[in-house]
Symmetry: C2
Subunit: 204 residues, 2 copies
């Protein structure tokens, strides 16, 4: 029987660069975890593609999936729904493959309830000023939305204590290296390895 895969959850304040880090990770050849695409009702940003960046859905479609229990987690955030379709996650983990989620902080807390054994990584801004600059430079948000997001971000940093790891997003490549190191290390954790190892070498 194959060991179950790891569920890797990357989260952090809005604007910290979760999507950028995720894209960089999945452009690297030695990344061997599987990306679970999120679902959202928000408007696609320029360059975002349905089925690659997100599954873009209407509010009606999203609410119907909630009712059918087809979402591992979902949240309404600044007026839009975000969620994770559950089937892909369950199937991939049971095949012994690692699944990577990149989700908002509210959603991460729901996943933690369902999968406390998951690997929760908090992507943190190097400073609050840098976070504000990134949100403003994204250029897709009104001044009021920027302010809302900064207030949210302060609240979200408090939630850090529910995570296993903190990766500061000072440089995208640094952050990716650290995330990959965390996944390698977690696969070496004694609790995960001990039973199968002792069986393998015949020392039980």
């Amino acid at each position: 029987m194959k060991e179950r895969g790891l569920l890797i959850v990357l989260s952090g304040p809005s604007g910290v660069g979760k999507g950028t880090v995720r894209k960089e990770l999945f452009s690297q050849e030695d990344t061997n975890f599987h990306y679970s695409i999120s679902m959202t009702t928000r408007t696609p940003r320029e360059g975002e593609v349905d089925g690659i960046d997100y599954f873009f859905k209407s509010r009606d479609q999203f609410e119907s999936l909630i009712k059918q229990n087809k979402l591992l987690e979902w949240a309404e955030y600044v007026g839009n729904y975000y969620g994770t379709p559950v089937d892909y996650v369950e199937k991939t983990l049971s095949e012994g493959k690692d699944v990577f989620l990149e989700i908002e902080v509210q959603g991460a807390m729901q996943v933690k309830k369902a999968f406390p054994e998951g690997l929760f990584i908090f992507l943190a801004p190097p400073s609050l000023q840098e976070l504000e600059d990134r949100i403003v430079n994204r250029g897709t948000e009104s001044k009021q939305l920027v302010e809302n997001r900064m207030n949210k971000a302060r609240d979200e940093i408090f939630l850090m204590n529910a995570y296993d790891y903190v990766v500061i997003n000072d440089e995208i490549s640094n952050a990716c290296d650290k995330i990959k190191a965390i996944v390698v290390a977690e696969h070496c954790r004694r609790e995960r390895v001990e039973a199968s190892y002792k069986k393998m070498v015949g020392v039980e």
Copy 2:
């Protein structure tokens, strides 16, 4: 004030290749932890240099250091003393630098009592046959000693459950990569990062 360094303890059964892995690690440029040289009363093997591979001491000298409480841990193993001089470890950790120990399993358990917050990595053989081959091929041990060591090894594999991580020494470079990933990951653990991060960004 600088954060205290990590104490990294690499241990595992005799013959598993702890010394070889340690040498490879410290020949790599991106290894930035500090090696604490062990002390022993055993005869140097061919090529081993006093003050580089070990501090080689007489039994009288070693026993005098035990009495002076100058050893973080020590053990008698197959007729010889092995131990870790305490001063270097304490000084280096307090400077915020990571210290790396490569020690026998008995010694690792003593370090765990003194430093439960240390990082305990068990280097495991890919199989018991491979372990025996390595001990035999080393060519320094009599048939009786090989048998003693194999019996010890079986007992030592049981002690795996006191460790944080298990790294299987299938290939030296794989084992080194995993050990370095574990150290990177541990520096990202939320418990270590949270307080100083929140202080830094002014969210307290």
